[in-house]
Structure formats: structure tokens, C-alpha cells
């Protein structure tokens, strides 16, 4: 018998959420980032990459073989939990409801992208405030810069890949231009340890 009270309590317990955003050239950075994870991960990680439709299943499968914690595709209405990595499907925006429940949305592309980092960063920061740790890495368009403003305004953490190190530097550079002060600008190899300080 499931103890409903226990579930409710568990659901209300605040957890930190990492939102990892990238576009072209980001897959390698993501893999490098995730390979640092050890059992007992104390946060939830949500991954937003600009990808072609239909490439979702492959990435989830691939990462599940490589990473020691569970990797799941985002479905509408799931409540995210610590210790799990979630991959946003191509073709949908991903937003956060109360109680860390994720919704998907098919509204217009933003910055030519769906999923768009601007959309998720704004929505996640609205619901998570300072519990959000946003990471922005390689990408060839400026998606994410507007969203980063919201993260900063709502006291979330902003970690940006050193643009010089990025395969495509527009995405990280635009964030640096848009926001007065980000929390960290670090090379690829230090992204995980920098984020982990907040876990």
C-alpha cells in the first residue's frame, strides 16, 4: 500500500534543478558534463538541446548506456525527481508547472527553436527561483540570452561555457552580453564541478 502522505511530503521537499541548454556542438559538452555524475546525485538535471525531430529516442538510449543514473525522456505531466536526468523531446517547448511538474507545449518557435532555451529558462526560473542552476553552452544562435535575464533577476545561478572553448560561441556570448553579471564563466572541463558546488 502506498502511503499517500509520504508521497505528498516527498513532492513538496524542494530540490535544485539543473537546466542544461545548448545547440550545435553541445552534445560533446553534455556528455563530458554528465560523465562526472556519481551515484546518489542530489539534483534533477533537465537537458535542452536544439535537435531535429525524431532524434530523441536515440539520445536517451545512448546516454542510458553511458551514465550511471537514470536518463528519461520528458513526457507531459511528469514530476521531476532528484537523481534523474530528463531529456526534452525535439519539437516541443518544455515549461514547469507548480510542484516541479513539466508540461510540453507546441506554441510558435522562439528564436527559430522549439524547444527554446528562452522559454524554459523563463518558466523554470518563475517556478524555481533560486533553486535553478542554468548552464549555457555551445550554440550558433542567441536563444537563451533573454531567458538568462530572468534567471538572473530571480536569483538563479548562471554558469556559462567559456565562449572561446565552445564549438559555436554565439549562444554563450549572447548570454554574457545580455546579463550584467553571470555567476561563472568556465571551460568545458570545469562545468560540472562548478555546478556541483550548489548541489
Amino acid at each position: 500500500m502506498v502511503d499517500l502522505k509520504y508521497i505528498e511530503r516527498k513532492n513538496r521537499e524542494p530540490i535544485k534543478v539543473v537546466l542544461f541548454c545548448g545547440s550545435s556542438g553541445a552534445i560533446n559538452v553534455l556528455e563530458n558534463f554528465l560523465l562526472n555524475i556519481e551515484q546518489g546525485l542530489k539534483v534533477a538535471i533537465v537537458v535542452l538541446l536544439h535537435r531535429k525531430k525524431g532524434t530523441q529516442d536515440y539520445l536517451v538510449k545512448y546516454l542510458n548506456q553511458k551514465i550511471c543514473v537514470k536518463v528519461l525522456p520528458v513526457e507531459h505531466g511528469i514530476q521531476i525527481e532528484k537523481g534523474i536526468i530528463y531529456i526534452i523531446p525535439a519539437g516541443y517547448h518544455c515549461i514547469m508547472e507548480k510542484n516541479r511538474t513539466l508540461s510540453l507545449d507546441l506554441s510558435e518557435k522562439v528564436m527559430f527553436s522549439r524547444p527554446s532555451a528562452d522559454v524554459s529558462l523563463e518558466s523554470f526560473s518563475f517556478n524555481l527561483k533560486e533553486q535553478l542552476i542554468a548552464i549555457i553552452v555551445s550554440g550558433a544562435n542567441a536563444d537563451g540570452a533573454n531567458g538568462a535575464k530572468w534567471v538572473a533577476k530571480r536569483n538563479g545561478k548562471l554558469i556559462v561555457q567559456t565562449p572561446k572553448e565552445a564549438f559555436a560561441k554565439t549562444m554563450p556570448s549572447s548570454v554574457l552580453e545580455a546579463v550584467d553579471r553571470v555567476d561563472h564563466i568556465v571551460p568545458t572541463n570545469e562545468l560540472y564541478n562548478t555546478a556541483a558546488k550548489y548541489f
Binding site: H76, G77, I95, S103, L106, S107, N146, K149, W150
Partner: protein, 275 residues
């Protein structure tokens, strides 16, 4: 610099009330976060810098009911979206439906009609179109009017053709339309099986004896409670052993009526009413 527009939960509740009272549109069953984003988008569009200004704008009835619906709801759709789903229907489900003298299909939230047309094409290739009736409903009468016209943009057709082939299509998609400048007009014959009706899933009545209900990418806009109510409506509308197809990223697993459904293919979100 661009202003960072914000609205609070309370203001959103206010918006829901105003829409209901002044425009007769009930958004209370809609998921909060997408609604919040849509309202912010509409405020920007109408150049309202504060919620108070937006409220004034709405109170003075600066929109028509349908405009409000159009701006808040999302109508994005495609032909042969998620080809695997269509392929499954063609390979596993059509043979069962072949035994029915008349096939009733309900496309709930059909938007501009791409989805019903996709199914019509596959039904035709299976020799089932003539005995099918496809009820196409949506809350938005404007999208239904577009669906009736059957005119779409030519530049979309390349992707649709690929997905048509992936769905198990046996001909060429271009056999089903005539291109004219930037547009295509779908063949009239496909539309013969369609009945278009304005209908809201939030407070509308049930249908009778449906053999299949397709309702994809509508649940993503509704609260869990509202989804449960709509699933109840679907169960009441399905004939025994009727099929229910949800969107690729939606699920009936969490619902209160899940025990009345059998999962035919969980990954593709194809369910069947138990009896």
C-alpha cells in the same frame, strides 16, 4: 531595453475570470504555466505594459471572443505527425476495423485538419474511406473553417511527404493534392468522409459509438483534473473495444480512469476501451 513583463498567479486567476465573464471562454481547466505564457504573449502583442492595462483592454472588449481563443490556444499541427503511430494504425488496427460495416472516428481538437486528412489518405489506401465517417471537432471555429477549405502551404509538403512514406503510405503524397502557386489544395474526395463541428472538450457532450478517438496534443494544455474529465467523456463516447490515441508525449497512465483502458502500445499512446 525590452521590459521584462511579469504576471502573478492572482492576476492569472483574474484573467480566467474576465475571459469567462466577458468573453464566455472558460480557461479554468487549462494548465497554468502555458496559460501564463500565452497571456504574457498577448499582453506584449497588444502593447500592455502592466496587467492593469491589459485588464482595461479586455474589459473594454477590444477583442472578439474568437480572437481571444485564437491568441490563447495553440493550433500548431502537421500531416502524419509521429509516422510510427499512423503506421501502427495501418498495420495493426485497420484490419480489425475492416470487419465493421461503418467506421466512426472522432478527431477531438483537430485544429486545421491535417491530422484527419492524414488518416483519410491511409483509410483510402486500405479501401476503408467510403465507409468511414470522421467527426472533426475543435473549440475554435476559425480553424475548422480552414480545415473545411483543405488548403495548405506548399513548402510544408516536403516534410509531410517523408512522413507519409514513413507512415506506410503506398503512393506519392502529391497524388492527393493540386499545387497552385505557394499553396496546395487537397483532393475533394478525401473530405467527403468528414463532418466538422464546433465542440468544446471542457463542457461539450459525448458522442455515440465511436470506434476510434484521436486526441493528440490537446491534453498538454489541460490540468490533470480536466484531463480526467475529458477521458471520462471519451470512455462514454467509445464503443466497446474502441481505440483511443493520445499525443506522443501524453499519457493516460496517471488518470483516474486508466483501469477502464487497455494499453495497446504504451510508447505510441494507443489505448483501447476494455468493454
Amino acid at each position: 531595453m525590452e521590459v521584462l513583463l511579469e504576471i502573478t498567479q492572482a492576476e492569472l486567476a483574474d484573467f480566467i475570470e474576465i475571459s469567462n465573464n466577458l468573453y464566455g471562454v472558460d480557461f479554468s481547466g487549462y494548465a497554468q504555466e502555458s496559460l501564463r505564457r500565452r497571456v504574457l504573449r498577448l499582453m506584449k502583442l497588444k502593447e500592455c505594459d502592466t496587467f492593469a492595462a491589459f485588464k482595461y483592454f479586455l474589459a473594454n472588449q477590444k477583442l472578439t471572443d474568437n480572437e481571444l481563443l485564437n491568441e490563447i490556444t495553440v493550433n500548431t499541427t502537421e500531416m502524419f505527425r509521429d509516422p510510427e503511430v499512423f503506421k501502427f494504425l495501418k498495420e495493426e488496427v485497420f484490419d480489425i476495423m475492416e470487419t465493421y460495416p461503418r467506421i466512426n472516428i472522432w478527431h477531438a481538437g483537430c485544429s486545421t485538419g491535417e491530422e484527419p486528412l492524414s488518416l483519410a489518405i491511409l483509410l483510402k489506401e486500405h479501401g476503408l474511406l467510403k465507409r468511414s465517417v470522421q467527426y472533426c471537432t475543435d473549440i475554435n471555429s476559425e480553424v475548422l473553417a480552414q480545415a473545411k477549405k483543405g488548403i495548405y502551404e506548399l513548402r510544408e509538403m516536403k516534410e509531410y511527404s517523408t512522413n507519409y512514406i514513413r507512415s506506410g503510405g503506398e503512393q506519392s503524397l502529391s497524388d492527393y493534392y493540386v499545387a497552385n502557386y505557394g499553396n496546395v489544395k487537397m483532393n475533394k474526395g478525401l473530405g467527403k468522409s468528414m463532418v466538422y463541428t464546433k465542440h468544446s472538450l471542457v463542457n461539450g457532450s459525448s458522442f455515440n459509438q465511436m470506434h476510434m478517438i484521436m486526441c493528440r496534443n490537446v491534453f498538454i494544455y489541460l490540468t490533470t483534473e480536466q484531463q480526467n474529465k475529458v477521458l471520462r467523456l471519451f470512455l462514454d463516447s467509445l464503443s466497446p473495444r474502441g481505440y483511443l490515441i493520445l499525443g506522443a508525449k501524453e499519457s493516460a497512465v496517471f488518470s483516474t480512469v486508466f483501469n477502464e483502458l487497455e494499453t495497446v502500445n504504451g510508447r505510441l499512446k494507443i489505448y483501447r476501451k476494455k468493454k
